[in-house]
């Protein structure tokens, strides 16, 4: 009996090993192209190059990971390339909100369903910022002032047109019943500087884009557009930590928005390859460099893979479609 059980156990183990072998065995056989659908120096680019550095430093992959910027057409170029590379497991792409906004705003034919979701790395937060010399201490005070002034008096600076910053601006307008003049700039760093120089009245910069000027006492953070406060309690400025910034809902503006920083692959790749990358990014997330980067940029560290990730993405797609439809940003057919 005992022997038999041992024997059957061994058979099961052997069987499992045989079954598992090919799964564990998939590894890139040539350098992996890491497509960045944005220009050099932006948020997605920084994250991708950080990942490349971490992978190289900790030897997480035998083949090198090579970031390639494909930023044409608000990132459409990069997405179209992944769409065309059906079945190629040596290509991955990092996404931002342009995964949804670009096809909707320009009519370029691609959709996240043309790709295989690998894993969500993090969610990027948005914070409502004003110049520290302005008198508004809370989001409510600020929005009341906007409401009191004639429409379009207050200027909101943001990155790009019909992308996350402008969509969020429209969402705030709807929620608070106000009207901003939205001014698009090319990069998040430039937007923060325009606010410091008082050329615009407010921005919805990501934390990492504005943190330097926040710490220097040039900007004031009014609220964060997430459903709960950012968890980082280490002091960043002299008096505040990220955790001290209230959510916009607490401040009376029921607007929520976060931006996906996630990884996709071309469609039709073997599941073993997907598992390899899921595993790889798990390892990346465990490194101290990654953790520090997350804290510096006050990211929402939600991590999802597989079906949960795909569900999240399809929900986000619906949200974006609704927001863009309301704002009148959808491309004319």
């Amino acid at each position: 009996m005992k022997i038999q059980r041992l024997f059957s156990g061994a058979v099961v183990a052997l069987f499992a090993a045989i079954m598992a072998a090919p799964v564990a065995a998939w590894e890139p056989s040539k350098p992996v192209e890491f497509i960045i659908p944005a220009g050099t120096g932006g948020g997605a680019d920084q994250m991708a190059r950080l990942i490349q550095g971490i992978v190289a430093k900790h030897n997480l992959m035998k083949q090198p990971l090579i970031p390639v910027n494909k930023s044409g057409g608000a990132g459409a170029e990069g997405f179209l390339e992944v769409k065309a590379a059906k079945g190629d497991p040596h290509k991955i792409i990092i996404t931002l909100s342009n995964l949804f906004t670009t096809p909707m705003a320009t009519g370029v034919p691609f959709n996240w369903k043309d790709m295989t979701p690998v894993s969500m790395l993090a969610l990027d937060n948005f914070v409502l910022w004003v110049n520290a010399e302005d008198p508004y201490k809370t989001a409510k005070e600020f929005l009341d002032a906007v409401k009191k002034a004639p429409p379009n008096t207050f200027k909101m600076g943001g990155t790009g047109a019909k992308q996350e910053d402008q969509i969020l601006t429209v969402a705030i307008e709807k929620a608070a019943g106000v009207k901003f003049t939205y001014i698009p700039f090319k990069g998040g760093g430039a937007v923060a500087t325009q606010l410091v120089g008082k050329h615009v009245n407010a921005t919805v910069n990501n934390p990492i884009e504005a943190v330097a000027n926040w710490r220097a006492g040039k900007l004031r953070a009014l609220c964060v557009f997430d459903d709960e406060r950012m968890p980082y309690k280490t002091r960043v400025t002299d008096t505040q930590s990220w955790f001290d910034i209230p959510t916009c809902r607490e401040a009376g503006v029921s607007t929520e928005y976060v931006m996906l920083r996630g990884i996709f692959m071309p469609a039709g790749v073997p599941p073993e390859a997907v598992n390899f990358y899921v595993d790889l990014f798990n390892k990346v997330r465990a490194t101290p460099e990654w953790k520090k980067f997350m804290e510096d940029g006050a990211f929402n560290q939600t991590f999802l893979t597989g079906k949960a990730y795909a569900d999240w993405v399809s929900k986000a797609e619906v949200l974006h479609r609704d927001l863009m439809k309301e704002a009148g940003f959808l491309a004319k057919p």
């Binding site: 120096g41 170029e77 510096d296």
Partner: protein, 498 residues
Amino acid sequence: MDEINALFHGFSIALTPFNLMLMVIGIVLGVLIGVLPGLGGANGIAILLPLTFSMPPTSAVIMLSCIYWGALFGGAMTSILFNIPGEPWSVATTFDGYPMAQQGRAGEALTTAFTSSFIGAFFAVVMITFLAPLVAKFALKFGPPEFFSVFFLTFCSFIGMGKEPAFKILAAMMLGFALAAVGIDTVTGQLRLTFGWHEMMRGFDFLIAVIGLFGIGEILLSMEEGLSFSGRDARINTRIVVETWKKLPRFWVTSLRSCLIGCWMGITPGGATPASFMAYGVAKRMSPDGAKFGTGQAEGVVAPETAAHAAGTAALLPMLSLGIPGSPTAAVLLGGLLIWGLQPGPLLFVEQKDFVWGLIASMYLGNIVGLIIVLTCVPLFAAILRIPFSIIAPVIIVICAIGAYTVNNAMLDIWMMLIFGVLGYAFKKLAYPLAPLVLALVLGDQAEDAFRQSMLISQGSLGVFFSNGLVGSIMGLGLLLLVWPLFGKLKARLKAAG
């Protein structure tokens, strides 16, 4: 005198054998990257950034900024030897540098270019050392109307000085603007001029156009003249550096003016490209030899090179002190700072003294090391022209093709390069000027963005361009430069009449 103390502290940090070695490696890699068009400073640094991930931040940034210096030096080389500007800001260097090389004065042109770059960069570093906080405040004054006024000034300083038929200048310049408009529109997010063709979405990169118009076009022209680069008799002259240096001091006015233009444009941040064009344009107007510009005047190399490098260096200041990149390369370095856990911005100078002053010290050292390295190689570089045409021509074309590909990793760009080559040949023979086309292509979309952002701010009123002293005076200066040639004509006419 705090700055002096801090600077010497910086030198003590930068001057370790390890860091010196990194400097030399950086410069050599940088020259290599600069020589290959397409792999410019920004791409080069982006590519090498992850390699520095495991180094201490100070060493890493020293190496990367040395790559930047090297790329700046390298860019001038291809402009002068082959008429192929490896970087946008080397375009103006070709106007006089390439004719010099064709006349057998390649060594002189190279020495002039390298020395001018050094002087420009050095001037800017001194300014960074002593005026950093003041200058940073000035940069904050620049909103969209001010940016537009700077672009306006650049165009004004450059147009109205060509000898070509006016309507051909107009057509060429407008073609540049049209090419710049292709792709996504920053202000509305609409796709423009792509005609539903996805490959067009990324727009026309300046480098593709320049590699074709200048590089391939030039090879076709020299084919017509019969299989030779006219500069092939370039002698190897080891004393060329000293001989050139004896001539350079007489250009001190141009040099100083270009330093100032460069620093100003680097901080604002208009960047190195407008700086080089503006400095060339202004030098042409102001110099007694202005009429001879474009035929191989050393002064026409001094002006753009000095300004470009002063601007490129000064652009690092707003990056460090405000976190706004003054150039694409600075943007990538900025990403690097974040990865190393440093926060660029107003507090960097306070919290990371070692890093900041180590970097500034390395700017001094890197520049000197770089100058020595490239100057010793001048005779060697000049000797490249002695290689027979039937060997060097295919190699140049291969390098052009690789350069065109690496800009966007797109095969279509290599075809575009070929089309631009034929266009460049035809334009040159029919007296369509290439410089306004390139200027419009480089600055066109930025100028349009700035204009339309200003219009959004002012709700459609043009008065915004004269709404405060700063923007008003820059616009006024631009208008003055625009009508300057008319004054000259009027004066001549008055003289003739009276």
